[in-house]
C-alpha cells in the first residue's frame, strides 16, 4: 500500500524545502510532510456500492523570525520558493511573541503499535471480502436488518518533520476502521443504530460493530409511551458519551482557554472540579493510540499528561507557541509545551489539542447490568443527535436521542421513540458518577481520541420525552 522508502522520500523533500528556507535567509523553519494512501468501500442499501482508493499529501512550512511566525502549505515541492515567500510575508505582519522559538531536538520515546504489516499487505480485494463478511453478518443476525450505510477502510500514511533546530523524524502509521449503520423496518416502525471502530492494527473482529448495531436496532423496538419531563439519572453507554465528551472536555483543558477565562474550569487549577474518584489523563504515548506518537506535530516528545487527578484539576495542555504567547501577554506566569501540538494535516500549522484522552475512576466500576440496577430509575442513552451543538465554553448541552431505554426498578422496561436530553457536562461529572467496566471505546474525533467507559450520572440531567 505504501512504498518502502516513503518516509525517506518525504524526509528528502522536506530537507530540500528546508534548504530553500536557509537560502532565503529564514532564521527558524519547520517542514512538516505527510502522505496518505488507502482503500475503502462504501455500503449502501445492503450492498457494497463503491470501492475506492488513492492518496494525497503535501508539505507545511512554518517559519519563525524573532518571535513572529508565518505558515504556508504546498503539494508540489518545486513551488517551495513561492510558499516560503508567502510565509515570510505573513510573519512580517504577525505580532512578535517574546520567547517563542521552534522546539529543540529532544530525544523521544518510541511508541509501539503504530503500524501493522497486515494492514500494509491488504489488497482492495481483501477489503471487499471484509465487506462481504459484514453484510453476511447483518443478514445472519436478523433477517429484517439492513445495512443502510457505512463502510470499511484501511489506510497507511507516512509523516516526517524536519526543522532548523535539528529535529529529523518520521514514521509510518496504519489504520483500519469500520462504520456500520443498520436499520430494521417492520410494520411501519423503523429503528436503527450506527456503530464504528478504528484501530492502528488490523481489527480482528469486524462483526463486533455489526453485532452492536443490530442489537441496538432490536432492543429499541419495544416502545413505551414517553412520560413527563424528568430530572433523573442517566446511564450513557460509552458510544453515547464519547461524542459529547469529545466536544466539551478537550476544549476545556487547553492551557490557552483556561488562561483566557474561556473554559468552565478557568481559575480552578488545583481545585476539585469533578467527582473525587474520577481522573482524566491525556496519553500521547499510548501504544497503538489513534492520536499518539513518539513526538507531537511540532516535534516535541510526547508525554502522558495528567489533567484531573482524583477530581482535582492539576494539568493543562500547551503547544510551544501558545505557552510563549500567554506568558508574554501576562495571562500566566509560566507555561511550557506539554507536547500537545496537533495538526489536521500538512495544510494546518500546529495548534494545541489532546491526543488519547482517558476518563477513569479509582472507585469500583460495574458492568452495564449492575449500573442499571444501581440507577434504580432513569434512562439508558446509547447515542445522541447533535453532540456537535454542545457548548464547549459553558459545558451545556441539549441534544436528542432515539436510542433511549427506560429503567424502572433497576430493569429496562422499554424504549422511548425520541427524547430531548440536556444538562451541563461539568456539573454532571461533579455530581454522583459511577463508571462502567465495559471495554473502553476508542472514538476518534477532530479533537483527539476518547477512551471512556459507560458513565452513570445521577445528577443534573434532564430527559424530555417526545
Amino acid at each position: 500500500m505504501i512504498p518502502d522508502d516513503a518516509v525517506e522520500r518525504l524526509m528528502d523533500s522536506a530537507q530540500a524545502i528546508g534548504n530553500a528556507c536557509e537560502k532565503a535567509g529564514v532564521a527558524e523553519w519547520e517542514i512538516f510532510a505527510s502522505q496518505g494512501y488507502g482503500h475503502s468501500l462504501d455500503i449502501e442499501a445492503g450492498k457494497i456500492s463503491m470501492a475506492s482508493g488513492g492518496g494525497d499529501g503535501g508539505f507545511g512550512i512554518r517559519i519563525v523570525d524573532e518571535g513572529r511566525y508565518g505558515f504556508a502549505h504546498l503539494v508540489d515541492p518545486s513551488s517551495a520558493s513561492n510558499a516560503i515567500s508567502q510565509a515570510l510575508s505573513i510573519a512580517r505582519k504577525s505580532p512578535a511573541i517574546e520567547g517563542f522559538e521552534l522546539p529543540g531536538n529532544l530525544s523521544a520515546t518510541n511508541v509501539g503499535g503504530m503500524k501493522d504489516k497486515a494492514i500494509l499487505d491488504m489488497s482492495p480485494e481483501d477489503l471487499l471480502e471484509q465487506g462481504d463478511q459484514v453484510l453476511t453478518r447483518v443478514a445472519e443476525l436478523d433477517s429484517r436488518a439492513v445495512a443502510v450505510g457505512g463502510g470499511v477502510g484501511v489506510g497507511a500514511g507516512a509523516g516526517a518533520i524536519v526543522t532548523s533546530s535539528g529535529i529529523e523524524d518520521g514514521g509510518v502509521y496504519t489504520s483500519h476502521g469500520i462504520g456500520i449503520h443498520v436499520s430494521i423496518e417492520e410494520n411501519d416502525h423503523l429503528t436503527s443504530s450506527y456503530e464504528g471502530e478504528s484501530s492502528r492494527t488490523l481489527l480482528n473482529d469486524l462483526t463486533a460493530s455489526v453485532d452492536k448495531a443490530v442489537h441496538w436496532s432490536q432492543i429499541t423496538r419495544e416502545k413505551i409511551p414517553g412520560g413527563d419531563t424528568e430530572d433523573c439519572p442517566v446511564l450513557m453507554t460509552s458510544g453515547g458519551f464519547s461524542p459529547l465528551f469529545s466536544v466539551v472536555v478537550p476544549s476545556a483543558i487547553k492551557g490557552e482557554r483556561l488562561a483566557r477565562g474561556e473554559s468552565f474550569w478557568s481559575g480552578k487549577m488545583n481545585q476539585q472540579v469533578i467527582a473525587d474518584h474520577l481522573s482524566i489523563v491525556d496519553d500521547g504515548l499510548m501504544e497503538g493510540g489513534m492520536s499518539s506518537g513518539s513526538r507531537d506535530d511540532e516535534g516535541v516528545p510526547s508525554r502522558t499528561q495528567s489533567i484531573i487527578e482524583s477530581g482535582r484539576l492539576i494539568g493543562e495542555l500547551w503547544s510551544t507557541r501558545d505557552a510563549a504567547k500567554l506568558v508574554s501577554e501576562g495571562k500566566v506566569e509560566s507555561a511550557q509545551t506539554t507536547g500537545s501540538a496537533s495538526r489536521g494535516g500538512h495544510t494546518s500549522p500546529p495548534i494545541c489539542g489532546c491526543s488519547d484522552l482517558i476518563l477513569s475512576s479509582s472507585s469500583k466500576t460495574h458492568s452495564r447490568e449492575k449500573l442499571i440496577e444501581e440507577m434504580e430509575q432513569g434512562y439508558v442513552v446509547h447515542s445522541v443527535m447533535g453532540a456537535h451543538t454542545a457548548n464547549p465554553t459553558s459545558g451545556d448541552f441539549s441534544v436528542t436521542t432515539s436510542t433511549i431505554l427506560r429503567v424502572e426498578g433497576g430493569e429496562i422496561v422499554g424504549a422511548l421513540s425520541q427524547a430531548g436530553f440536556s444538562g451541563n457536562m461539568a456539573k454532571a461529572l461533579s455530581g454522583r458518577v459511577v463508571l462502567g467496566d465495559s471495554s473502553k471505546r476508542k472514538g476518534s474525533y477532530s479533537t483527539g481520541s476518547m477512551h471512556v467507559p459507560d458513565v452513570l450520572m445521577m445528577d443534573g440531567l434532564r430527559i424530555n420525552p417526545a
Binding site: 463503491m50 504556508a72 436499520s183 478557568s266 457548548n391 436528542t400 432515539s402
Partner: protein, 479 residues
C-alpha cells in the same frame, strides 16, 4: 507519492490544468477495457484563511491544493481513484476498472445496478467572476475587516476574549468524460466570522457570528461588520443573564438562521435521492404526497448568486437549476445526481457535489430556502401565542434521515408570554419528526432570504446557504 508529484507538467498554455490529449487517451483506454462510463475531474483551490485572537493576528494560511478524482462505471458498479498526483491518473485506469468490476461481481440479481441518466453533453468554459477577485485581496485588508468586528465585539468588561476568522477561496474545476463532456468552471467564496466569550464569575458563555457568500471581497464589504461585532457582544452579555430554557412541547418561532437550519435538516437531507435509494430516508415513496402545511414551499437553488451554497455547474457537469422540493406542502422533487435520476426515472437536477478534487460527488443541497408567507412581522407571528419560545441564531443541527427525526440548536432565545417577548433563555434545542413538524408550520413572514452561511457534513463537508422568513411552528419539542 507526493515527493514524485508532477503537477507542474500539466499546466498548459491554454490555462487548462488537465492535459486534454492525455486525459482523452486515458478515458478511451477505460472504454476499451469495458467501462460503461468514466470521468476525470480536477479541482484546484486557491485558498486564504486568517484569524485574529483578541485583535492580534493568530494565523494566516495561504494555500494552493489540487486534487483529481477518476470514477469508472463498469458492469453497473463504481470504482474510484483520487490523488493529488495529477500526472499519475492515467496509470490508475486499469486498477480502478478492476475495482468496479469486483464490486459488480458481488451484486445479487435482486440488487440495482448503477446506471446514469442522460444529460446534455457540453463543452464550455464558465467563469463566475467576482467584482473583487479574492486573489487580489491582501492580508492587510483581511486584518482590517476582522478588526472592524473585533473593535466592537470586545467593548465591555465582561467580554473576556474575541476571535475573528476569514476564509476565501477560488475554485477551478475541469471535468472530462467518456461521453465527451469537457467543461471548465470557476467561482469564488468569501466568509468572515467571529466569536465572543463573556464571563461573570463562574458563568461563561459564547456567541458566534458569520457572514459570507459566493463572490469576492465585495461579499464581506457588503456587511456592516461593526454592527455584527456589536450585536455579538450584546447577545453574549444577554446570554450571561439568561436562564435555562424550559422543556416540553410548545409553540416555537424561529428566526431566519434557524428556519434555514430547520429546513436543511428536517426536509433537505431526507430529499437527497442517494439516501432515498439507500433506504435511509423517511420521504421514500412520498413524491406527490402532502407532507407539510400548505403554506410551505421550499426551494433548493444553486443558481441563487451570492448564496454560500452556489455553484455554476454540478460536479457531474450538469447545469444547475432551482429545485422545488415542496410546493404548497406537496413533495414535488428529490435532489438527485445522474445515478439516482436514472434509478427513479427523473430529470437530473444538478445536485451532485464533491468536497474537493479528492472526493467523489454525492447528492447535496446548495441554498435551501423556505418561501415567505403572509404574516407581516415578528409581532404578528407571536401575538396569539400564550407561552412559547422565539429562538435565534444557529449552533447547528443533525438529522436521522431514515427515522425522520432531527435536532437543531439555537444560539439564544426568548420566552414568548401573552403575545410578547419577555425574558431571554439559553441552551434551546428543538427536536421533532420531519413528517409531523412540517405539518405544524402555521405562520411565515413575507420576507424570505438567506441567513448566515453554513457547512454541511455528510462524510464530506460542503458550504451551504439556508434561510427563509421568520417561521412559527404550532408545537415543537423544546429542550
Amino acid at each position: 507519492m507526493v515527493v514524485a508529484t508532477r503537477q507542474s507538467e500539466s499546466i498548459h498554455s491554454n490555462g487548462r490544468l488537465l492535459d486534454e490529449d492525455k486525459i482523452n487517451r486515458a478515458l478511451d483506454n477505460a472504454s476499451r477495457l469495458g467501462a460503461e462510463y468514466a470521468e476525470i475531474r480536477l479541482v484546484s483551490q486557491t485558498t486564504n484563511s486568517a484569524s485574529l485572537k483578541d485583535g492580534k493576528l493568530e494565523r494566516a494560511i495561504p494555500g494552493q491544493e489540487i486534487g483529481i478524482t477518476m470514477r469508472i462505471l463498469a458492469d453497473g458498479a463504481w470504482g474510484v481513484h483520487s490523488t493529488s498526483d495529477i500526472a499519475s491518473i492515467s496509470e490508475q485506469v486499469e486498477p480502478t476498472l478492476r475495482l468496479a468490476k469486483a464490486v459488480a461481481a458481488r451484486r445479487s440479481p435482486s440488487q440495482h445496478s448503477v446506471g446514469l441518466a442522460e444529460v446534455p453533453i457540453i463543452e464550455d468554459v464558465t467563469h463566475w467572476k467576482s467584482l473583487k477577485d479574492v486573489r487580489d485581496t491582501d492580508l492587510d485588508t483581511r486584518i482590517e475587516m476582522m478588526l472592524a468586528i473585533d473593535d466592537e465585539a470586545k467593548d465591555h468588561e465582561n467580554i473576556v476574549s474575541t476571535s475573528t476568522g476569514w476564509s476565501d477561496e477560488h475554485i477551478h474545476t475541469e471535468l472530462m468524460t467518456t461521453e465527451g463532456m469537457n467543461r471548465v468552471w470557476s467561482f469564488q467564496r468569501s466568509l468572515i466570522n467571529g466569536m465572543v466569550t463573556a464571563r461573570d464569575g463562574n458563568d461563561v458563555v459564547s456567541y458566534r457570528m458569520r457572514h459570507g457568500g459566493e463572490g469576492g471581497l465585495e461579499v464581506i464589504e457588503s456587511c456592516d461588520l461593526g454592527l455584527m461585532g456589536r450585536n455579538a457582544r450584546i447577545s453574549a452579555l444577554r446570554l450571561l443573564k439568561a436562564e435555562r430554557a424550559p422543556s416540553g412541547k410548545m409553540p416555537l418561532v424561529a428566526d431566519r438562521d434557524l428556519t434555514g437550519v430547520y429546513i436543511h435538516e428536517a426536509l433537505g437531507h431526507p430529499c437527497e435521492a442517494d439516501l432515498v435509494a439507500a433506504g435511509d430516508s423517511c420521504l421514500e415513496g412520498r413524491l406527490g404526497q402532502m407532507i407539510g402545511s400548505e403554506i410551505c414551499t421550499v426551494v433548493d437553488d444553486p443558481t441563487m448568486r451570492g448564496g454560500y451554497g452556489c455553484y455554476p455547474v454540478d460536479d457531474e457537469g450538469v447545469n444547475t437549476r432551482p429545485k422545488n422540493l415542496i410546493v404548497n406542502g406537496v413533495l414535488t422533487e428529490y435532489l438527485n445526481h445522474r445515478e439516482t435520476a436514472h434509478r427513479y426515472d427523473l430529470d437530473p437536477n444538478g445536485g451532485a457535489r464533491a468536497q474537493d478534487g479528492l472526493h467523489h460527488p454525492l447528492v447535496r443541497m446548495s441554498n435551501t430556502v423556505i418561501q415567505g408567507g403572509t404574516h407581516k412581522d415578528l409581532d404578528e407571528l407571536i401575538e396569539d401565542i400564550e407561552f412559547g419560545v422565539y429562538a435565534c441564531g444557529s449552533r447547528g443541527g443533525q438529522v436521522d434521515t431514515g427515522r425522520g427525526s432531527f435536532q437543531f440548536a439555537a444560539q439564544e432565545a426568548w420566552i414568548i408570554e401573552n403575545g410578547s417577548l419577555s425574558r431571554p433563555v439559553k441552551d434551546v434545542s428543538v427536536s421533532g419528526m420531519t413528517l409531523e413538524i412540517l405539518k405544524n408550520v402555521d405562520g411565515l413572514t413575507r420576507d424570505a432570504y438567506l441567513g448566515s452561511p453554513g457547512f454541511c457534513g455528510k462524510g464530506q463537508t460542503v458550504p451551504v446557504g439556508d434561510g427563509g422568513p421568520l417561521m412559527r411552528i404550532r408545537e415543537a419539542l423544546v429542550g
